[in-house]
Amino acid sequence: MTSTHVPDQRTRHEHLIEIYRKVVTVRFAELRIRGHVEAEGFGGFWHPGIGQEGLQVGAIAAMQPADYLYYAHRGLGYAYAKGMDLTALFGDLLGRAVGSTGGKGGGTVHFASAEHGVLGQGGTLGSNFVLGAGTALASQLLGDGRVTVVFFGDGAAARGTWHEAAIQASVWKLPVVWVCENNGWALSARFEDQSPTPNVADRAPAYGMPGVIVDGQDAMAVMDVTAQAIDRARRGEGPTLIEAKTLRIRGHYEGDRQPYRQDQVQGDEIPNDPVHRLGEHIAVEERRAIDAEARRTVEEAFDAALAAPRPDRSVIFEDVWA
């Protein structure tokens, strides 16, 4: 894979550094949240994205700032990579007024940032398929040149909304890119037990679109295929289905004891760790400096969020109506 598709004029190495910085920041964020959940408990459900940060950050690295993002529920890597403020993200998680949702968040949150094109998430899996296609339709209608990227899991790929959105998006050549994080599990269901084909990407031909499989632990490779798909979408050639192969390291939610799981990966082992894969290409000193800064950024943001006030209960009546 060449670097022709990277979205701006920086060198490939500069990109790698930037991606590493984000991946490692998300990693520290993941660990910080886990620590908090383990120590303090948690209202709601936190779905850790640890181990999947590389593909999240890699794919988003191929987007333009104005492009639209519908993220999935596994972690906050997507939103951070798209430019959202960490304190706002932690604030959402902790139900603080500084959260991007003004404190309505908490648990499996609905981050959003109109400014960064982070359009949110539906709590019902697969609803993002139709919304994402619709946003791409708006871009086509307005001629604004934006592309919409929609993340989803291997489990969500079974929802009928996929079928309805994908057929229409393909026929209308909508500028949308679908990124499947295939981590092998949908809660307790193994992908291999619930899919008639070995890969989600095998379904792409039914929709007349390219299906691309990529190693989801290789952030740079994910960036490259996503960049190609985004280019194609922006050229008006329609959607692409990208399947990033990854692995769910932890339970479905933090605290899930995974009684259903017999595979090797347990606890903290991250095979083919995207942090290490990227890190290998960076000089040790530089990497240490990035790591230290990332850790500090996370600590400061988390502390700021923790210290922020909770919203007044009256906010429940806000934002029902525009």
């Binding site: 949110g120 619709g134 229409q168």
Partner: protein, 336 residues
Amino acid sequence: MTTTQAPPATDRVTSYSRAINEALAEEMRRDERVFMMGQDIGTLGGVFGLTRGLQEEFGPVRVRDTAINETFIVGGAAGAALGGTIPVVELQFADFLFTAADEVFHKLAKWRYMHGGQFTMPVVVRLPSGVVGGAGAEHSQSLETIAMHVPGLKVAVPATPADAKGLLKSAIRDPNPVLFFEHKGLYRIKGPVPESSDVLVPFGSARVARSGTNLTVVATGLMLGRALEAAEQLAPRGIDMEVIDPRTLVPLDIDTIVASVEKTHRLMVVHEASRTAGFGAEIATQVQERAFFSLDAPVWRVCGTDTPLPQDPDLEQACIPSTDDIVTAALALAAV
């Protein structure tokens, strides 16, 4: 359709469906961000002909035929609204709310709230509703109450051409999602409609379709005409009915209804939707909450049966209130 006011000089008589068609065309001319999608709305002009001529005027890019994919029609509209457009979509039958229910009741209704108010959701879903003669159990329902129960959706139920046009224009300009229940049985009725393209009917303002003194009747959609007919039949029998059309259920202009009941002391709600847990119950409850000591008798309901709707056109009529049913009930209620 009986109305008490003569049409003002600047009105002309046109049909309910034509009025809707005009509203769509005018709003699309006014604002380029408005677009439409749905099944068969383009080349065909809609199964009920509501969008006729619009693809010719606005082109296939702004008036789009979709595949049979209600989740996309509504969910795609939600996404398109987030992307800066104003989608006005049609489900071929209001019942198809159920084939896109997650999109309607979760995405449209709650997206803004769930994401802390950062987005607006200016989507109109047009919903041909009610019995039309043989369309069957899954193509004839009146589902507006469900929309009323789920917070975040505005709900319009126009009963006249003028209201159909004026409310639809308001709906398209509203930054909130609106479920727009058009009654299929009214598409051909005619009535006065303002000439000007600037006349809007605001949401949340009930219309007193007939003023009276003995008994208040609240009715919507197809039932409004039947209630007005019943009123004419009852007048010579000494019952002077006030007939109120709320026009929108969310927001609901309960003040106008309560004021009427404070005058008449008796209330009857007539709706086509099945009786149990229909919007008649909500109106009855709010009225007794607010005007309990003004009521001389219980609030009664004349409603659709608690059955699915049969496919047969004659049997289907047996499932919804007739003018006779309203007359009979009114006589009985007046006697309580």
